[in-house]
Symmetry: C2
Subunit: 340 residues, 2 copies
């Protein structure tokens, strides 16, 4: 049996069409997800392996994507480190006890990744249920993004508190980033043991950093993760950090995710044509009429090429996307015919 398209794309094998999946593909645009959401609160869904598995499989069965990504949340890492995380449905996360000083950092737990055994159980169960149909992706938040939430305590337009912490107390910031990194590496290797075929690192807020600050507070920890996660290929998604693509293309990562603000040809140029790229359809463009979606998908693949490429959105799918439009996106990739 031939290996799955996703893994072949990450290895750089020549392909006729790229694999396709969508960030947040298991989520609010799917009516069957909404039924479970009405019944179980967020952390119940995340922490019950049977529910997480069911949710993970929905887009594979219903939308036809080429990979499953485990239903979970990046903020399980602060939880595993002993930091309380609350989530009011539709309102974003709240961390009531933010990290402010050395004492707070000293109190963090770094050796109890088994607190997240429910994630590993969900991966193992999902892997079994998938029965080889498509590969399974695990994930974690990047250390900078996790720091943002641990210091800011919630989402923010500017993450000014998180940045103030880094700019005013860089030594403390680095010790926090290091602790998050250490836990994340353990966590991702355990995800691989439990069944993840690939892992993706979401640096959702890296684009808030200047290029110089990205070099200080984000990149070194991404590099440690790529080096420390030895069992499966790693995809880095530094959202908004177009300026880091060249540098990250030599990080040892198997793939780089792109948001929709980078032209495909320029992304190939920035990365010296040397790495598998993933992305980068504007999630809002799934609101366009279906023929427009299909035309734009074909143009996107023409621009990236079918090889060393994973078709995806440039950010998570929006809750208001009609399921038929999501299906059209996936179908357009599967129907792709190389030019000439």
């Amino acid at each position: 049996m031939q290996e799955h398209l996703l893994l072949r794309a990450l290895k750089g094998e020549t392909l006729d069409r790229p694999p396709v999946w969508m960030m947040r593909q298991a989520g609010r645009y799917l009516p069957d997800y909404m039924k479970l959401r009405a019944q179980y609160d967020f952390f119940t869904r995340v922490q019950t392996p049977e529910l997480a598995c069911e949710i993970t499989l929905q887009p594979v069965d219903q939308v036809g994507v080429d990979a499953a990504i485990i239903f979970s949340d990046i903020l399980v890492i602060p939880q595993a480190m002993g930091v309380e995380v609350l989530l009011e449905e539709g309102k974003g996360p709240l961390l009531p006890n933010t990290i402010k000083d050395q004492k707070d950092i000293d109190a963090l737990i770094t050796d109890e990744v088994e607190r997240l055994s429910y994630v590993f159980d969900a991966l193992t169960l999902t892997k079994k249920e998938l029965n080889g149909r498509v590969p399974l992706i695990g994930f974690a938040g990047a250390p900078w993004t996790i720091l943002c939430y641990m210091v800011e305590g919630k989402g923010s337009k500017s993450f000014d508190k998180a940045k103030q912490f880094c700019f005013s107390q860089p030594a403390l910031a680095h010790s926090l980033l290091q602790k998050i990194t250490d836990v994340t590496i353990q966590y991702l290797n355990r995800q691989a043991d439990a069944g993840a075929d690939v892992v993706q690192i979401f640096d959702s807020w890296s684009g808030m950093l200047s290029p110089a600050d990205f070099k200080l507070f984000a990149e070194p920890y991404l590099l440690q993760i790529v080096k420390g996660v030895t069992k499966v290929p790693v995809i880095l998604f530094p959202k908004g950090s177009w300026y880091a693509l060249e540098s990250l293309s030599t990080s040892g990562a198997a793939g780089l995710g792109l948001d929709w603000c980078v032209d495909p040809a320029l992304a190939r140029k920035f990365t010296n044509n040397s790495i598998t790229l993933q992305g980068n359809f504007d999630p809002c463009k799934l609101l366009a009429p279906i023929p427009e979606i299909k035309k734009a998908v074909t143009e996107m693949i023409d621009a990236f090429g079918a090889t060393r490429y994973i078709a995806n959105l440039g950010h998570g799918i929006l809750p208001n996307i009609p399921v038929d439009h999501a299906k059209a996106f996936v179908e357009a990739v599967k129907e792709y015919q190389p030019k000439n």
Copy 2:
């Protein structure tokens, strides 16, 4: 008497140090502004020339910036076009009657820019009060950004309604963008007549567009504005649209504003060293200790060079910046000594 630094920088004259001002420099971080804010609601402050003038002068007197920018709002344009705009203090704007179809666009008023005579009066009064101390900057929102608010009706993380409108009904979108552009050109030329020495176009949401969509829905209208505003130099600030810098460097604009996510050397490279650049200090970095601010400002000017450069933030100053830190930013620019 020699011309002001800002105008000399925009002409490309060789300078020992750049001029400095800060986006949103008349605003919530200033205690004297907060006193007026407690007394008068937002549109009273904007629509009363004496108040707008007083607020505009505050940072000139108190922080020592090299330019004044008139206190106003980009959403006066929808108002002048007959669209209601509400503003709940600290909550962002609300446009209850969004643009949805041809009928809504047909109803827009495009020949009553004198509805904004309070802006022109504020400019004339401020120019008189400034008495030549520093130049006066006028401004408007870019057509794409104004469309975002007119279609979405409020701020948004994704502006998905605005994008859906553009992607599904491009002909309607272009007719709306054209009407906004026509009014904006009249408005900016009238600002010049009333006393503005320079005007800046804020494309606050251009960075939400892919490079290809920027070419369709943003750039053509920016180019029309640059061509249509004949009386004063124009600075374009396409926030987040690093990918458009090369193209906009030949637009005929006198200057290009940069957010903090573009490295200065790379910005010079993108623009072929051919245009005055403005920016791009991370507004959050004003929360760093004062010595760190001063060091970072010097490094920024070293990187851009003192010529063809206007020191500024990469986005508006935050309400929680200590006034002393804002002053330190300005002082560091004024104290700049060129590296030989």
